[in-house]
């Protein structure tokens, strides 16, 4: 019973802090660029505004266009329940890492179909580019998390992996973890349409991937798509924090453990946010057909991580 409460609380926390995380990233980027930037709570205001707006929809869209935001947001909320964050106990007796990776596929599949709706050129272009990147991202993601499963020897359930790794202590640090972690960071940037793969703040649709797919959305639909991509970023950060560097994550119900875990998790999240903001400030968006090089690197890193487990 306690487990369910913990699981529910951390899933809720993941969803609720998602806009805050995005806000902090933007604020840090602004500070690094010498601007004062918007308040860190700005994403909440943006979302509230969008949720309250009427929407404009293309005449040539069908029911799928209207269903896509719900599917995207729904899959991300389910994902938030399956990922260990503060505590290794998740709300997910129904799925494991394979299910997690395939839920990302569900999200992407829905979004790509949404991009093809409306029959504009930009949506199709965004969808096409997104799929090109995902062909390399998704296997890397699968391999990186699978590496952890094999490394921990705890099976493929997300919470178990995190718990087993943190119990291994420093013994877990080895080539496999480092390679998989490096791959996962690249995957995180690519999957969440961050620089150097995509620029979420550009004003030219031609240069965009993720935003190009959302071009036809407005009002509430846009709000849901934006919220789900914020949750996606936060879920990735949570996975990085609680699975690739799981030390400090609570494995028991002891209140002091939980308190430590909350503090450690906040520190980890802020560190990851800082890394993302720094990467975004010092790098620029690469040309589209240069991104496969980096993605292949991520893919190879995770493959080597997994192979190293089997031969070392």
């Amino acid at each position: 019973m306690m487990g369910i409460v913990i699981g529910a609380v951390q899933a809720l926390a993941l969803v609720l802090i998602a806009p805050l995380v995005t806000g902090i990233v933007s604020k840090l980027k602004a500070l690094m660029q010498g601007r004062s930037g918007a308040d860190i709570l700005q994403p909440y205001r943006d979302l509230r505004k969008l949720f309250g707006k009427d929407s404009v929809t293309s005449r040539s869209t069908s029911w799928i266009f209207r269903a896509v935001p719900y599917v995207c947001l729904g899959s991300m909320v389910v994902l938030a329940m399956m990922v260990p964050f503060i505590h290794t106990h998740t709300l997910a007796p129904f799925g494991d890492l394979v299910a997690v990776v395939y839920l990302f596929t569900l999200y992407r599949f829905a979004m790509v179909l949404g991009g093809l709706e409306g029959g504009s050129t930009f949506g199709g272009m965004g969808s096409s580019r997104e799929m090109m990147m995902s062909v390399l991202i998704e296997p890397a993601l699968l391999l990186a998390i699978s590496t952890l499963a094999v490394l921990s020897g705890a099976g493929t359930d997300m919470g178990d992996i995190s718990g087993a790794l943190s119990e291994m202590g420093l013994l877990a640090i080895g080539p496999a973890l480092i390679l998989a972690g490096a791959s996962f960071i690249i995957t995180m940037l690519a999957e969440n349409a961050r620089v150097p793969f995509d620029n979420p703040t550009t004003h030219l649709e031609l240069t965009m991937v993720h935003e190009a797919m959302l071009l036809e959305y407005s009002g509430r639909g846009l709000a849901m798509m934006e919220l789900s991509s914020m949750i996606r970023l936060t879920v990735f950060m949570a996975m990085l924090g609680s699975m690739f560097f799981p030390w400090g994550v609570a494995t028991t119900m002891d209140p002091s453990d939980l308190l430590v875990s909350v503090l450690v998790t906040v520190a980890k999240m802020l560190t990851i946010i800082l890394v993302v903001a720094t990467v975004e400030s010092v790098l620029c968006k690469t040309r589209l057909f240069k991104t496969p090089n980096l993605l292949t690197a991520s893919f190879m890193l995770s493959l080597m991580a997994m192979i190293s487990l089997y031969i070392l």
Binding site: S62, G74, S75, A99, Y102, G119, G124, V135, S146, A149
Partner: protein, 644 residues
């Protein structure tokens, strides 16, 4: 075992109900434009669906037909696995036949008889117990599909199909004849573990013969060469049956041949690895080819190839894992078998969807569709379920079997296998394949159903015939329910696999993760339902406008094209595809010749032609020279017999 009168009466009446109507149906093809045959075939399909319940009711499901041949009698034997296969295949067959009766205008009236014949031969092939019946039925399947595939003027694809499947058929005949000779009994259910009798080399040879033999039907590289043309040129219902029911038959017999009749041993590991690599190459090739096709049917052809390659990968992994834990082997075989059944359901659904779309629009190229979801929302819903299953999106059935495959690659027991180094590579390849395939289906769906219409036919599709949606709905419902209620199905199949192979452990102990398909599905659907309900509380207005076009107006060609959609992937995987765009005069076209055609089949063709040219030199048409050839042959033969 004593079989009491009641069950034997049940069995007899069941078999009569199953085989008599389609046998009659073979002769009624021309009566009232085939309707009688359709009904007869549908009746026996329904009887076929009952195979599993009937199997549970009778203790021993076997019978001998009251006719035989010089090579032995025709008898059948049904175990649990076979009965599940018969049930699912009959369901698929029924739906295809129902759809065909609505829109089977491509067939002449006589062709319906062939459908009945195909049903009989597929079912006999799955249920057969004697070698001779199996071989006759298997041959009949090939020939009947060949006869059913005559559509437009181009005869080449179906002859290619016949040639390739006969190469495979020859291998199957060799393998089974050899096993029959060794076993000494024609009853296949008595064949157990023949590999230990025939020794390692022979058993490897037989296993490879079976694999390639059935692989020709399943599209294993490089024998897939008949598939795309055959799929695009034949009536859709023929290929729908070919890719689903016939593939089921092939996988079932292959599975029994490799794991029940020959049996596994340590000698099989190396051939297992080789076959596994061949399968994964096939899967990748199928996936990548399906990306660049411009005809929906060709996309489905290559996707069949990919799916069946995943199945054969599982079967060959079964050989690889034979030295490790038994439960891991049970798991990987279950993954393969389940994927076969799932594939037959979602692939037949997609075939029928594509047929319906072609029917209502009168177009057959991807770049002539678009926006059909607005005109035919019901069709777009079932089609979405189909592509979601194909793309292995949770909680559909395709996801469950891919989950099982990945579980078998990630299981902790894998570490004890000598071939464990293969596993990360296979996980990676499966990931890449899965994503390319998902892209390919997003493309298939997106450019048929979404966007704006690209042709007159797509803009104003003719209304669908009443009732033609029913089979699609049933198949879509099966996709969803085989996903949500996968666990009972898995348990049933696992039992069947254990009895056929003699594996003592179930698959569950090899699982290293949890999966509750029903709960997962309910979580996803429940969350979406809650979100919809919440947003209903305070509704906002929705204004309909034109698609944003930077201030201009868009005509039907001014949108992303399906060829453009796949270009980024083509560029990334450039070395695999080679140069696909060509410039002829002022026109740029994309075209692609398979390297297998270029580097294997064309040289063979050239060689055969060259040899034939030479042979014509001695064919003078002069009776004296022919007589002298005969004389020379006789002399040589007599000398050879005498001297050797």
């Amino acid at each position: 075992m004593v079989v009491d009168v009641e069950t034997s009466a049940l069995l007899t009446s069941y078999l009569i109900a199953m085989f008599l109507p389609p046998t009659l149906g073979m002769f009624t093809g021309k009566i009232s434009s085939g309707r009688v045959s359709y009904v007869l075939c549908a009746v026996s399909c329904i009887v076929g669906i009952l195979c599993y319940p009937v199997w549970t009711m009778v203790p021993v499901f076997e019978a001998t037909f009251p006719l035989g041949s010089i090579l032995g009698e025709y008898s059948i034997h049904v175990d649990r696995l076979t009965s599940v296969f018969v049930t699912v295949s009959s369901l698929v067959f029924l739906m295809v036949v129902m759809h065909m009766s609505h829109s089977g205008h491509q067939y002449g009236p006589g062709k319906v008889s062939l459908v009945c014949a195909l049903f009989v031969s597929c079912m006999l092939c799955m249920m057969s117990d004697t070698v001779i019946l199996l071989l006759i039925a298997w041959e009949a399947v090939s020939v009947i599909t060949f006869l059913m595939s005559n559509d437009d003027g181009d005869e080449a694809p179906r002859w290619r199909f016949l040639t390739v499947t006969h190469i495979g058929g020859m291998m199957v005949i060799c393998a089974f004849a050899f096993l029959w000779m060794v076993a000494g009994t024609p009853y296949m259910h008595e064949w157990k573990d023949l590999g230990s009798i025939i020794g390692p080399t022979a058993s490897v040879a037989v296993a490879v013969c079976l694999f390639i033999g059935f692989g020709t039907k399943l599209g294993t590289v490089p024998f897939h060469i008949w598939m795309p043309d055959m799929y695009s040129r034949s009536p859709t219902h023929t290929t729908a049956l070919l890719t689903t029911v016939c593939s089921n038959v092939a996988v079932l017999v292959l599975f029994k041949g490799m794991f029940s009749y020959i049996g596994v041993s340590d000698d099989m590991i190396v051939p297992g690895v080789v076959l596994c690599v061949l399968s994964i190459v096939t899967a990748l090739w199928g996936a990548m080819e399906s990306m660049i096709q411009t005809e929906p049917k060709r996309i489905l052809a290559y996707s069949s190839m990919e799916n069946m390659a995943l199945v054969t990968m599982c079967l060959s992994l079964g050989l690889v894992f034979s030295d490790g834990s038994e439960s891991l082997m049970a798991l990987v075989l279950l993954a393969g078998i389940l994927h076969t059944l799932n594939h037959s359901v979602f692939k037949s659904l997609m075939m029928l969807v594509v047929d319906s779309v072609e029917d209502v629009t009168g177009e057959r190229m991807m770049d002539r569709y678009g926006g059909i979801a607005c005109a035919l929302p019901a069709l777009s819903v079932v089609a979405l379920i189909g592509v979601a299953s194909l793309a292995a999106v949770p909680p559909m059935n395709g996801f469950i079997s891919e989950w099982l495959m990945l579980q078998s690659l990630l299981g902790t027991d894998v570490l004890s296998s000598d071939m464990r180094i293969l596993m990360p590579l296979l996980v990676a390849m499966m990931g890449v394949c899965g994503m390319i395939v998902a892209t390919s289906y997003a493309r298939l769906y997106g450019f048929i159903f979404l966007g704006r219409p690209r042709s007159e036919g797509a803009a104003r599709p003719s209304p669908q015939k009443k009732g033609s949606l029913l089979p699609l709905v049933v198949l879509a419902a099966s996709c969803v329910s085989m996903g949500l209620f996968a666990v009972p199905l898995m348990e049933c199949l696992s039992d069947g696999i254990q009895t056929s192979t003699g594996i003592s452990q179930g698959y569950t102990s090899a699982l290293s993760g949890t999966m509750e398909p029903l709960l997962l599905g309910l979580m996803i659907l429940g969350t979406i339902a809650v979100l919809v309900a919440v947003s209903r509380v305070s509704r906002r207005r929705r204004v309909m406008e034109e698609t944003w076009a930077c201030g201009g107006t868009l005509d039907e060609r001014m949108q992303y094209s399906s060829e453009g959609f796949s270009q980024p992937i083509v560029r990334v995987f450039h070395p695999f595809y080679g140069d696909t765009s060509r410039k002829e005069g002022d026109e740029y076209t994309t075209g692609f010749t398979e390297p297998f055609v270029k580097h294997i089949y064309r040289p063979i063709g050239r060689f055969v032609s060259a040899v034939s040219e030479r042979v014509t030199d001695i064919q003078t048409g002069n009776i004296q020279s022919y007589l002298s050839y005969i004389l020379a042959t006789l002399v040589v033969a007599l000398l050879a017999v005498r001297l050797l």
